[in-house]
Symmetry: C2
Subunit: 315 residues, 2 copies
């Protein structure tokens, strides 16, 4: 297992600079009053392709040799990673195949295709996905870019907090949602070197709290088919992300479905941004644990903005 | 009638700097492809109090003498100007009274009160509003800050395009929604001096096209109770804003209600921002008149983000 380093993050930053936005930081006096903390929202929902995953995907794609690049990249993901890998591959002009269950939302398939990627459908089971994905790799020779358990991806996600600490001085804490742990691992990579006094928190839905239980148990626990509105956060930790979480995260906090929805609406209303339920989990956790953050300067990573406007959870 | 000058804009910019955000510019490759133009969205929905009107209101409030400031400010507005004047008065710690019909949405009354302002209700008629407002002025000695037909307000709104031309080089055109014409006048003030080659367009709902008809007729035409989802754009031009529109605007384009709603949803989906129907009128007009903007670099002012999340027009 190769653990990505600060040098990998720096190389990633230079490599992906032409392909990603430096996303803005937003603040709200009202949300500061409500939480008793000073909050700085890092808006990766405004990132290319609508999610921070454009960073890791771009780093993986643009780090390939020309020989490998010609064969393209592939992944299995019905979420933002598939879209972002297609985006990055499109920028480099190479093939991208994304395996997803035929039951995935049409919008997700359209998003992959919109950036030029190919969607290959499988049955909604792990067995089918693995079989179909193996076929894709055998047939294309494409490079597998895992959604999070990949050092290139983590080094890419790590560029987000490198930007954030240049944009906001003296952060006492940073909090990000945790699913597979790619963003949290990248945050750990960067901050443990460049801002070692800044505490790192992860936030997770109560109904998909496998990372929280893993953290307490000291070993990886994977849930069987968790159910939460924060659909980007259903996947389990893997060895590489577990390494970072175990060594650098201060605590993992959870929030209920209703608390997530309330925080999401609050952010839409006050910050005037469109973001996913997953991105609301950190604010929900802060509102639930005000004493942990009171009086502190807290960076919150808004991870993505790809949400179905036709079925908002408060309607 | 005092016509505000470039010096007034510059004074406004220094005066309001501590009280307003320099708002970011967002771009979307997909929206560029769709329109055939290069679009730069100036996000005043991310402005303090959720609208560009924080600029003009702050300039008026912070330009008052201490003697006048003690007596406070007053306006009549059931829209963003009332909220933003309350915001600015709150920052200076002076009284603010906003007269609005008792039929105005509760959220608008709450927004004024949330910043410390006082709401005085009138009947939903011009006669009642004028009578009640006269009483408020007599009773308080407050300074009347008109929502748009006020040189201090226009000089404040003019700071928006001064920022924009620093953030984006070589704009061929700028387009903003037009209601009373405060933002468009400020844009004219700044660009006619600092970027005289940049053409200025205004965009208006077909169902409230009084500015368009005025522009064609050569004199102010005021509609009687226009009805549009773009509720910030129902008010008529006044002498001061008419001066700027008449002298500096290239054209006024219109869009239907459905075109406005479609453009609004497109912006939410692609730019991941929450904004008002009024703010979608420029993109709707560009989509309707692609030949006017093809191949050009176009600045679009997203004027505000105060929208009722519980009743979105596409649901």
């Amino acid at each position: 297992m190769y653990i990505p380093t600060l040098a990998d993050m720096r190389a990633a930053r230079a490599r992906i600079a032409p392909h990603v936005h430096q996303t803005p930081i937003l603040t709200s006096r009202m949300l500061n009053q409500l939480t008793g903390a000073e909050l700085f929202f890092k808006c990766e929902n405004l990132q290319k392709a609508g999610a921070f995953k454009a960073r890791g995907a771009s780093n993986a794609v643009f780090g390939l040799s020309d020989d490998q690049a010609r064969k393209g990249v592939a992944t299995h993901s019905s979420g933002n990673h598939g879209t972002c890998l297609s985006y990055a591959a499109g920028r480099r002009g190479i093939p991208c195949t994304v395996v997803m269950p035929h039951t995935a939302p049409q919008a997700k398939k359209d998003a992959v295709r919109g950036y030029g990627g190919r969607v290959v459908e499988c049955e909604p089971s792990t067995t089918s996905r693995e079989a179909v994905f193996a076929e894709v790799l055998a047939e294309t020779g494409a490079e597998f870019v895992h959604p999070y358990n990949d050092p290139r991806v983590i080094a890419g996600q790590a560029t987000c907090s490198a930007e954030m600490i240049e944009q906001v001085e003296g952060l006492d804490a940073v909090i990000a949602p945790i699913g597979g742990g790619g963003m949290v691992s990248g945050t750990c990579l960067t901050l443990s070197h460049l801002a070692p006094k800044t505490r790192i928190f992860a936030a997770e839905p109560e109904q998909a709290d496998d990372a929280c239980r893993s953290f307490k148990a000291g070993y990886i626990i994977a849930d069987d088919a968790p159910n939460t509105i924060a659909d980007g956060l259903k996947v389990p930790l893997k060895d590489l992300t577990w390494h970072f979480v175990q060594n650098h995260v201060t605590d993992i906090l959870t929030a209920s479905e209703q608390e997530i929805i309330d925080a999401m609406k609050l952010i839409w209303k006050r910050l005037k941004i469109v973001m996913e339920p997953s991105s609301a989990v950190p604010l929900a956790a802060i509102l639930k644990n005000p004493n942990v953050f009171a009086g502190q300067r807290v960076g919150i990573i808004i991870t993505g903005g790809n949400v179905d406007l036709d079925s908002l959870p408060w309607n």
